[in-house]
Symmetry: C2
Subunit: 372 residues, 2 copies
């Protein structure tokens, strides 16, 4: 049930069918290098989140530039990565339910797998699944360092769950996940820095309590594209989970970056779309709507035309509003910058990789739809 | 690149993995019958829109209850329907670009195909593609009856394009599409009725001008779930395109329905989800986020628990807020009512069809991701 790609290798961009997902390889490769480049000399490793790209071809390129492996959110996403040749996956999320735990434990026979927990009952279920599969699983405790989503409160609650893990024959306590998710899209640099400072304090307090309890904990993972340099320079984090840096969507671009120290990542991911109707004064309609670009973080932006606004989306249509002299005609093609890259990538089966106006490769998004 | 289903036939709902798309067959079948039931005695045919379900199994059941065929929005969606055994498809949308027009013309050799236009240049491109394939294509003119998306203005502009169609050797002018899309989610019944009255006036005025120009036009198609009975009783429309009636999402449920004459459709489509974290006072986190339920028309609603609100979604997480005494624990499963059914269905490869708490069938969503 995967559809034919919108392009073939060697085709000019102008010939590529729409809507499809375009990856500008030059910009992508610069982003790919810029993040590890910004970490030179720091005692920190990169483990990019694969939930952004869902594509082993991209994961391999991240690892070739020094990444230690990838993060995934779902067992099925991790399976797709391992099937694609990735040997080291952190499931940066809780995994609940017997069916998933069985698959997780089986996957640990084929690759290095870590998983997060925030619930003692779930820890015991994990131990049962690991024993049944005959494996020992590395388990991280997720700490709520301010995002208020998953994770236990810092301090004593972490020690409590760590003791449960230590008491399980088929589990190994492997450290902490301390991801401050809500900080990533806070616009001001100072506010993002303050949020990470608080997260670091929370982690350090927790590490002290764990030490007092005789439980070693030197592995801490977290961070996203919006804040990663603050975690990287904290001396507390050991691995970074940033993922969106390779694409840089419209919402991340609305953050302030100056004086953050974080390099300027470029937009490399676009929705390629065709003007399908131009009957209205002041407007045009393109063939990319809600099923071609997720609007959860705002409408896509129109690339290359500052005077054209993507006004609204319905299922298969996007309405463009002219604010200047630009006018399109039916058949014109243009690029949209997605509002939010992760759920947009999840709508497609292929990256159409373009360099110098020519299709250089088609990369399958093999973890598209990996929900389980 | 299609993932294993979350269930097997015969499994109890409690065992079904999450997140997945559940179809409550009893509610679905009642909806399936209610719409044609409400049209008894009216000179109107139903051609439901398949963009809502993308599933030939559902299309076949609609046709078995009298539907004349289906509507699609994309050529690739129409191909998936024809491949699935559907013989009559209206592409209720403009199709632009040589690659798509070639496939459209080829498809017309295998099934009865109609397509919409609103641009004279596009009409000529269609004629070229039809001639190259050796077919004659049925072409409808889309009229903008108030939605201000695609379509030409009513009246003289329609006659102008109709003349271009009539002058094309491989095209046949087949009538008008007059879909008032924005009226569908207008909350008040009187406002929806007024919008359709205006659309009917626009169509009648246009038909008079076409008649004066010697161009016959007795086929008019349009309507959605929010308004279809007003089009059905107008004596102007010949076919109805309603699609969402089979599922009834949370956004449609916010419409007023009393005294519309439209029967009460039931929620039959749900996202089945698991509580994956319950560490916070007053909240729980489920494993269904932006990649499991489209939020373009608002957050999903929590089914069966009136005192629990789906507060916000991130990529793979949904945060529930308790407003009453309900409390969930990790591992509990519950149903969400999607905010908007069409883009939610497009996230999944399978409908898990449930009756009496048992999985009765798995229907593949073969047009999932049919963007071209």
């Amino acid at each position: 049930m995967s559809f034919r790609p919108a392009a073939t290798v060697g085709m000019s961009l102008a010939e590529v069918d729409t809507p499809c997902l375009i990856l500008d390889l030059d910009a992508f490769e610069r982003n790919l290098q810029r993040l590890p480049g910004s970490l030179k000399g720091l005692p920190i490793k990169l483990r990019p989140h694969a939930k952004s790209h869902k594509c082993p071809e991209i994961a391999k390129r991240q690892i070739a530039l020094g990444a230690v492996g990838v993060c995934c959110q779902k067992v099925s996403e991790a399976e797709a990565m391992v099937d694609g040749g990735i040997r080291d996956v952190l499931i940066a999320n809780e995994v609940v339910g017997a069916a998933k735990l069985k698959r997780l434990a089986e996957l640990a026979k084929r690759a290095t797998i870590k998983v997060c927990v925030d619930d003692a009952g779930n820890v015991r279920d994990l131990d049962v699944a690991a024993r049944a599969a005959g494996v020992t699983l590395d388990v991280l405790i997720e700490v709520d360092v301010g995002a208020h989503r998953c994770g236990v409160a810092p301090g004593a609650p972490v020690v409590e769950i760590a003791r449960v893990i230590v008491g399980c024959a088929n589990l190994r306590f492997a450290g902490l996940q301390a991801y401050q998710g809500t900080a990533q899209h806070v616009r001001k640099v100072a506010d993002r820095r303050d949020a990470i400072k608080q997260a670091v304090d929370d982690v350090q307090q927790t590490q002290r309590l764990l030490k007092d309890a005789g439980i070693a904990c030197d592995y801490v993972t977290g961070a996203g594209t919006g804040s990663y340099l603050f975690e990287a320079t904290s001396s507390v984090y050991r691995e970074l989970q940033a993922g969106s840096y390779i694409f840089m969507d419209a919402d991340y671009a609305r953050n302030e970056w100056t004086e953050s120290g974080i390099p300027a990542f470029e937009h490399s991911l676009f929705v390629w779309t065709t003007v399908m109707s131009a009957t209205m004064e002041g407007r045009a309609v393109v063939d990319a709507g809600l099923k071609a670009s997720s609007v959860d973080s705002g409408m896509p932006r129109v690339a290359d035309y500052a005077d054209v606004e993507f006004l609204k989306a319905s299922d298969e249509h996007g309405v463009l509003q002219y604010h200047g002299s630009t006018r399109f005609k039916v058949g014109d093609k243009l690029k949209l910058i997605p509002g939010h890259c992760d759920p947009t990538v999840n709508l497609y089966d292929w990256f159409v990789c373009v360099r110098g106006g020519v299709v250089e490769a088609l990369w399958p998004i093999t973890a598209r739809g990996a929900l389980l």
